[in-house]
């Protein structure tokens, strides 16, 4: 095992350990804000995994969108809907058992499936495209048979409608003001 491979292996297992522990914290911790921090950890580890897989660009996007956007949104949701003293009530025994059985069942099924399937791996040292970001850009805007311009546009529409929908759902119907920015401030204040 050469030094590069060794570091690769060590980093993988280290990150895996951290992310699994953090993921467990996400689903079990009683204080929801701590769960959010654990989630951020999992996602950052995810970015690390992507770098290990040679997808630096996706890792950057993961950090940008997940940590810079989604986690902050989740934290906002936490802030708007609960307070520091709130701790979550434990789930009922039966539900917990159901959850454990289902997730372990899924894990077992999936692992057996992986074990019993032979995947068509690519050649030992294949060439990755030199500039992944450039290639992804070409793919996203390509409208040939292997282009993704249509899904790309649909995703844009999805995001737009999600944003508009979120504003419509969350705005306070009692307030007549059309000034959204002022309104979000007021709902911030009323929720705390």
């Amino acid at each position: 095992m050469n030094p590069a491979e060794l570091t690769h292996t060590i980093v993988f297992y280290g990150l895996a350990l951290v992310s699994i522990v953090a993921a467990l914290l996400v689903v079990t911790v009683k204080r929801i804000f701590r769960a959010a921090v654990a989630l951020a950890t999992v996602l950052v580890c995810g970015a690390g995994f992507y770098i290990l897989l040679d997808y630096d660009f996706i890792a950057g996007i993961q950090l940008l969108v997940y940590v810079g956007g989604i986690v902050i949104l989740i934290v906002f949701a936490v802030m708007l809907t609960s307070s520091l003293e709130d701790t979550e009530i434990r789930p009922s025994k039966s539900r917990k058992a159901l959850g454990i059985i289902s997730s372990l069942g899924f894990l077992a099924t999936a692992l057996i499936a992986f074990q019993s399937t032979s995947f068509p791996l690519s050649a030992p040292t294949p060439e990755q495209p030199s500039d992944v970001a450039l290639e992804i850009g070409r793919k996203l805007l390509g409208y040939g048979s292997d282009g993704y311009v249509l899904p790309f546009e649909i995703i844009s529409l999805l995001l737009l409608s999600a944003v508009i929908g979120a504003i419509v759902v969350a705005r306070n119907p009692l307030k007549k003001s059309s000034d959204l920015s002022g309104q979000s401030e007021q709902s911030d204040g009323s929720a705390t």
């Binding site: 689903v27 929908g165 504003i167």
Partner: protein
């Protein structure tokens, strides 16, 4: 079996994360917690795309594109979910999913 991470190791990792997410989806009482668990699921799904892209189709980049799409969908989902939580909290003063059962038969 070698300890150098190969396809199987990576798949194990993503599956474990996915299972943990499933457990969270089924047991979390706080709706925001459920949302976080769903993010775990999405994250491990995106990771699966990249894993297979890396191990099975390295000269191509489609798995990465899919991962990008998943991230975008996750963002949209988080936005809508947050708006819904705020609206639900405003009307019911709780985001405990076990208490939101108006559709009970």
């Amino acid at each position: 079996m070698s300890f150098v991470p190969g396809l199987f190791h990576w798949l194990c990792l993503s599956t474990i994360l996915f299972s943990i997410g499933l457990y969270g989806v089924m047991t979390r009482r706080n709706a925001v917690g459920v949302l976080m668990s769903v993010e775990l699921l999405l994250n491990s799904a995106a990771m699966n795309f990249l894993i297979f892209n890396h191990f099975a189709a390295k000269p191509f980049i489609d798995g990465a594109v899919m991962a990008l799409f998943i991230i975008a969908v996750a963002a949209a989902e988080a936005v809508v979910a947050m708006a819904l939580f705020v609206a639900i909290f405003r009307s019911r003063k709780t985001v405990d999913v076990t208490q939101i059962d108006t559709l009970k038969g």
